[in-house]
């Protein structure tokens, strides 16, 4: 793990926190496909954080893109068309 700041807490407490952090980082590793599908060897924590940031940014972009597509689709739905009727029944 990369360098960590020495906490003012006792040695025992900071060791517990480090284990928690290692555990949480490995959980993140499982969630991020870049790391999960790649090498199965241990990945450094800073790499996990980096890939996590990239992954979250990608997900944000996908949500933006999907919102745009929805905007276009909803805009083109003619209120009286048969598709609109089907969609209305599904929504209600």
């Amino acid at each position: 793990m990369s360098s960590r700041r020495r906490s003012r807490q006792s040695e025992g407490t900071s060791r517990i926190n480090d284990d928690q952090i290692i555990d949480l980082v490995s959980k993140l590793q499982q969630l991020v496909p870049e790391i999960r599908n790649g090498r199965s060897n241990k990945v450094s924590a800073s790499k996990v954080l980096q890939e996590t940031c990239n992954y979250v940014r990608n997900l944000h972009r996908e949500v933006d893109d999907l919102s745009q597509r929805l905007t276009q689709l909803l805009g083109t739905i003619d209120a009286d068309s048969p598709e609109a009727a089907i969609i209305r029944t599904l929504i209600m």
């Binding site: 992954y55 919102s67 805009g75 598709e83």
Partner: protein, 145 residues
């Protein structure tokens, strides 16, 4: 909290919100870029709001999203200029501060969390973002046929 129940609550809430959007009439000139980007913002806000309320207030990130959206809605109504975000001077950040800076900006409410909490919130946030993307993709496919 299981992702399935979050997914269902999100899908229902989001679809209900979409239903309430003002319908665009085929004859009205609603294709101006300004109009389109305004509707896009509304839809994105609806998606984030539905997601956050499907998760509920038990997570720091969902509370932060709801706060942000309420603030944005108030600003739209009152047309105030946007206030800068208050920076709380919290306790010192846990280890790896330089590397966690970008994560803190990406995860809602992440600025002042200590490291352990930040990592846990990030994991949950990623799971929910995946759910959001899946459901929105399904809806887009549905509307595209």
């Amino acid at each position: 909290m299981k992702q399935n129940s979050i997914r269902t609550r999100f899908a229902c809430g989001f679809l209900r919100t979409l239903k309430r959007l003002p319908k665009t009439r085929a004859t009205s000139p609603s294709t101006s870029p300004g109009e389109i980007s305004k509707r896009c913002r509304i839809i994105k806000m609806a998606a984030d709001a539905s997601m956050a309320s499907a998760v509920g207030p038990r997570r720091v990130w969902s509370r932060a999203v709801i706060r942000r959206i309420r603030l944005q809605q108030r600003q739209r109504l009152v047309r105030r200029t946007r206030r800068g975000e208050r920076k709380k001077s919290g306790k010192g950040v846990g280890g790896g501060a330089g590397q966690t800076a970008c994560l803190r900006k990406l995860v809602p409410g992440g600025e002042n969390m200590e490291l352990c909490r930040l990592l846990g919130e990030t994991a949950h946030y990623i799971k929910c973002l995946n759910t959001q993307v899946q459901v929105m993709r399904n809806i887009v496919d549905l509307f595209s046929t």
